[in-house]
Symmetry: C2
Subunit: 215 residues, 2 copies
């Protein structure tokens, strides 16, 4: 695992760089430069150069980076083991969409189970992943070194689930509920609120309209 | 509509402020200060003060803002009409989760239809919203002044749908597909890739581990 602390603004660009490098390597490109990346992704060249220096630092002036080395350095930011074990809590619409999603595996995220408290769902499967009882959550996380939880339960269940998670030695929560997560500080929480996404898009639209008015 | 251009970093905090003010107003608080907000949301006070000054600018020293005024100024950033018409394209798992989600209405986002090309789905409903044929998309958007599209189709369909959207006078796309959107510049695009969300969380976890190691 990489021992660097990556600034928040740079974190947001890590998925972009990873995706870009995957495509580059698929097309048998061996070398990559900040200039190429900045042009292809529409980012500032200085920004890209700084980002890559923080993430890897192995670039050579006028030559750039070996694409596969840079890919490895990016990957070392997201996991130290071969796989990162992930569980989904909540087998509703969002949980189901997440369990069916195919894009996690190539980054080493291994979704190993789905949890719910609905007796009609427990024992069934979503896309090969067993739906287990929430009563088994704590023991399952401890036994399987679960690092990340994708939380997609109704808001009123959030507190109960978090109380279990406090004792489950997980390291991060991707929160799809509408509730704030109240948990110890060493567990990272990333909130994914659908309304927030629409609000941010709407503000960008407003910006765009004002910008065009000003021209 | 507000005629301000809001910096990108501030946009990310608009949903937080809106949610915070909603709760405050629900609890009959009339006044609010940067200090209160910064403490309750765990943000820097200087940052909050700057943000609110950009968003509203109507705060008074030592008194703060009238909560409902600030709420209105925030709301004016996200819409100019009573409602913002939104459609969902793709009636799969993600589209269904979005159509069932209840949190959009209170910000004025009005989901008026779902589109799909599957004859088995067209004519049915998801949570009171009709599933219409993708053939009707362009005319429907023009007739109903649709501003925002939530795009949740399989990657291979993305290009076809975007070709239709180019002529549909929409203003923004919330992109849940794994494809990059190639569309004219005056349409805002916000990408929501599930793998990216996990990647960013994993980097935060890595940061957190390194930070604690350094202590």
């Amino acid at each position: 695992m990489n021992n660097k602390i990556i600034p928040k603004a740079v974190i947001e660009r890590v998925p972009l760089y990873l995706d870009y490098l995957d495509k580059l390597i698929d097309n048998d490109n061996e070398m990559v430069s900040s200039k190429m990346i900045s042009q292809d992704l529409g980012l500032g060249e200085v920004q890209v150069r700084k980002d890559l220096n923080i993430i890897s630092g192995k670039g050579k002036p006028k030559i750039g980076y070996i694409a596969s080395d840079l890919r490895n350095d990016l990957e070392s930011l997201i996991r130290n083991e071969e796989k990162t074990n992930v569980v989904i809590i909540g087998a509703g619409k969002i949980g189901e969409a997440l369990a069916n999603y195919n894009g996690f595996k190539k980054y080493g995220f291994n979704i190993i189970a789905v949890f719910d408290n609905d007796l009609n769902k427990i024992g069934k499967k979503i896309s090969d992943k067993a739906i287990l009882s929430i009563d088994m959550l704590k023991d399952f996380c401890l036994e399987n070194d679960v690092e990340i939880v994708m939380l997609a339960v109704p808001s009123k269940e959030t507190k109960n689930v978090c109380d279990i998670l406090k004792e489950s030695r997980i390291k991060g929560i991707l929160n799809f509920t509408k509730s704030k997560i109240d948990i110890q500080e060493n567990i990272c929480v990333r909130n994914v609120d659908m309304a927030s996404l629409l609000i941010m898009l709407a503000v960008e639209i407003n910006n765009n309209l004002n910008y065009n008015k000003g021209e």
